[in-house]
């Protein structure tokens, strides 16, 4: 797989332009010299001016960076998107059904379709959630499914991000920037809008308010504060929805109900879109040393007096070890074949598979089960012998701590780099909202590995983003 030339989304192997990219190719050809260079520097200025920054972990506190933005949009045809969104909808429904089951009767374990040990002894499993009835039965309300493409009709799900995924503000701001930078390009084709997201987010959150709350529910966004790497996004979403942006100390629990401290005293809170990890939500239930959370919050949640979005404990469904069972999960709960494929994954606890992995590690991708953000992983073909050996040792020591996948030849898109326009690998994170219904914003966030040949698209590892266009018929 790694040897063949990757699928390019703009150009066919013979150099002709694929249909969805016709207008873009024409437009690129018409651009005078330096036009893209200018656009690129304008884009940087726009993002900095708006304060669309993220903090880089490990660097000096308060250091803010602008995520690189590529001015050439990525384009998805209408029928490609229809197929993708059907697969996504199926997947998020099945995962929510799975979560409900796992925290209630655990039928799927009783049926022996997933090993019990894998769930009940998993650190992402949250026993405190057992028997709790979340509003509308929904656990994961906001999901970002990472999808990669390797051929015209071949899409794979890389990860289901069910723990309040980030990046949606970039999807929205990339579009804003693109409309400022290249308005004429939009006039040449019909591009599905993405600015419906904030309204749909609000609707989704309202639809899962506790049954007992009357009138328009009071929605807040709970942030760890301005030093969090995604603070911009937290404030952006609160602003777009007209919700109050709170930090832990702004909230308190009294008599099993949640209130915020306002200028005129306590005010009841119904729905909390929390951007704080499970562990930090409530020092009385989870980590006692947490300063970010709200003491007593979990009990208020259990009592049905407030809705937490996403629910605690959703991590059990996007655990890398559980991931391999998602096709099984779709079949078990929906009685359908999964429309979207998983990347084939090797299980290192199986001796035969492990030996094969150790022998072929140079061609494989190794991921730590609980790692994220591109950390704790190794891409075989782009790593040296020392790295291979290091990961061999790691796998032998803790085979259950790693999953291994073939190195996928991620599709490439034309990208503006120093040397001009060149193909770079991309992935896609569409954003899904689950409440009274499933709402998927057309497109999503395209992340692009700006380094030549690199397959790592994470912004913390030098990745950038692109505006993502879903064409309308």
């Amino acid at each position: 797989m790694a040897d063949s030339k990757p699928f390019d989304e703009m150009y066919n192997a013979d150099g002709s332009v694929r249909e969805p990219y016709r207008a873009l190719a024409q437009w690129l050809e018409e651009q005078p010299d330096k036009a893209l260079t200018l656009m690129q520097s304008d884009a940087e200025a726009i993002f900095r001016k708006l304060g669309i920054t993220f903090a880089v972990y490990g660097s000096e506190e308060g250091t803010e960076k602008v995520i690189p933005f590529d001015v050439i949009p990525r384009i998805i045809a209408a029928q490609e998107w229809r197929k993708l969104s059907k697969g996504i909808e199926q997947r998020v429904k099945a995962l929510n059904a799975f979560l409900y089951d796992i925290y209630h009767r655990q039928e799927i374990l009783k049926a022996g379709r997933i090993p019990e040990r894998l769930i009940l002894q998993n650190s992402a499993f949250c026993p405190e959630m057992m028997g709790l009835e979340p509003a509308k039965g929904v656990y994961a309300h906001i999901i970002g499914v990472d999808i990669v493409r390797v051929g015209p009709d071949e899409f794979y799900v890389l990860e289901d991000n069910l723990r309040t995924p980030s990046g949606v503000s970039y999807m929205l701001e990339d579009r804003e920037a693109m409309m400022i930078l290249a308005p004429d390009l939009f006039q040449r084709q019909k591009v599905a809008p993405v600015d419906t997201y904030p309204e749909n987010l609000r609707r989704t959150l309202e639809s899962v308010a506790p049954a007992a709350s009357s009138g328009a529910p009071n929605i807040v966004v709970l942030t760890p504060g301005i030093y969090n790497s995604a603070y911009f996004e937290h404030s952006f979403l609160a602003d777009q929805m007209g919700a109050t942006l709170c930090e832990g100390p702004d909230l308190f629990v009294d008599g099993g109900k949640v209130y915020m401290r306002t200028t005129t005293g306590p005010e009841r809170v119904d729905v909390i879109y929390r951007r704080i990890d499970d562990d930090y939500l409530d020092p009385l239930t989870f980590r006692p040393d947490s300063m970010l959370g709200v003491p007593g919050l979990f009990n208020a949640y259990r009592a049905g007096n407030v809705t937490l979005v996403n629910a605690p404990g959703t991590g059990i469904a996007d655990d890398k070890a559980v991931y391999t069972y998602v096709p099984e999960i779709v079949e078990f709960y929906l009685g359908e074949k999964a429309l979207l494929q998983n990347v084939p994954t090797y299980n290192c606890t199986d001796k035969e598979q492990r030996n094969w992995v150790l022998a072929n590690i140079g061609d494989l991708v190794v991921k730590e089960v609980h790692g994220s953000g591109g950390y704790g992983m190794m891409v075989g073909p782009t790593s040296n012998k020392a790295m291979h050996n290091e990961f061999r040792k790691k796998i032998e020591a803790r085979p259950d701590n790693y999953i291994v996948q073939p190195t996928l030849a991620l599709s490439t898109c034309p990208t503006y780099v120093n040397a001009g326009i060149a193909p770079r690998h991309v992935d896609l994170r569409p954003y899904v909202l689950v409440g009274d219904e499933v709402r998927i914003t057309p497109g999503g966030l395209t992340r692009v590995a700006l380094k030549k040949g690199s397959l790592v698209v994470n912004s913390s590892q030098g990745g950038g983003t692109k505006d993502t266009w879903v064409l309308e018929d």
Binding site: R48, K49, Y231, R261, T263, T264
Partner: protein, 314 residues
């Protein structure tokens, strides 16, 4: 609105106003030091300017001589000076970032762009004409921010907290400028000011951005009595104590109406305003200008603390 949000709004606009006042004070100190004819005069002017800004002790701790370069650097860029323009702009922007959802995009972008610009300036490069240029930039920034505020924000509680912060800071500043030089404003047997007095008066007026509007109000040469009157009792002067006090009272009144209750800060604001309402300069001089200003600053502080208690700043 969250109590914390109200607090951030209040301080955000206090810091913008403070940055502007610091720039004005420094400009005055700088001009005075250039024209000082006496040995050591330049240093004295700079120090009394820092006294007005209440940062003279912080400066003394640095153990450096007070010359134009050291003082300009201290007032503009020094992180050890709590009121340096650097610290004011950083605090304003951090507050703005924290309440990003409670202010408009225009207000945020003004502060964000200003911070990005300012934080890239190399202090070494800022001397002479460059310094004056940068000081002007700071005052323009303050105008731009206020313009964005007036032009774009909803007239609700957030607006009132922002405006209250702005004018509490301004009242404090005007009172301090007057107090720094109160003795040159006192009535004396010889009513005609000498050159030194004129220079001092002009310093006071410039620091309050009032040296030109003075002429329009009084059609007269600089006179101590008029200058004190202008900065304390003239209701049309937007930096006078009476203007600020009335304005602050109007903001807390707006809040009281918005929330439908009369908390303790309303009384504090009324008491501040009462000090400057229905009095005359003669009466103020008779009771002591310095005592009057000290009392005013204290009451202004009470407005600030009582506002934070009344509206759950935390």
């Amino acid at each position: 609105m969250l109590g914390r949000t109200a607090q951030n709004l209040y301080w955000l606009s206090r810091y913008v106003e403070r940055a502007e006042n610091m720039a004005r004070l420094l400009e005055v100190g700088y001009r005075m030091s250039l024209t000082s004819r006496r040995e050591g005069g330049a240093s004295e002017h700079l120090i009394s300017m820092m006294q007005a800004a209440e940062v003279d002790e912080d400066f003394a701790r640095k153990g450096r001589p007070a010359d134009v370069d050291t003082v300009a650097h201290f007032m503009m860029f020094d992180p050890d000076n709590p009121s340096s323009v650097f610290n004011c702009l950083m605090a304003a922007r951090t507050n703005a970032r924290t309440v990003r959802t409670a202010i408009t995009g225009d207000m945020w972008e003004t502060l964000n762009a200003a911070w990005l610009h300012f934080s890239q300036i190399k202090p070494r490069d800022v001397r002479g004409a460059k310094l004056l240029e940068l000081l002007e930039w700071v005052t323009h920034l303050s105008h731009e921010f206020r313009g964005a505020l007036l032009g774009t924000i909803l007239r609700d509680d957030g607006y009132a907290f922002l405006q209250a912060g702005n004018f509490v800071e301004r009242a404090d500043n005007t009172a301090r400028i007057l107090d720094m030089k109160y003795y040159v404003l006192l009535p004396r047997a010889k009513m005609v000011g000498g050159d030194l007095d004129i220079q001092q008066w002009s310093l006071i007026l410039r620091a309050a951005s009032a040296h030109l509007s003075y002429r329009h109000v009084y059609h007269d040469r600089y006179k101590a009595h008029n200058i004190a009157d202008f900065l304390i009792l003239r209701p049309e002067m937007p930096r006078s104590l009476i203007y600020c006090a009335r304005f602050i009272e109007a903001q807390v009144q707006t809040l009281a109406e918005f929330y439908g209750r009369q908390p303790a800060c309303n009384e504090a604001a009324a008491s501040l305003r009462a000090m400057v309402e229905g009095t005359t300069m003669e009466s103020i001089f008779a009771h002591g200008l310095h005592e009057f200003l000290t009392e005013f600053i204290a009451r202004n502080n009470i407005v600030s603390t009582s506002l934070s208690e009344s509206y759950n700043f935390h």
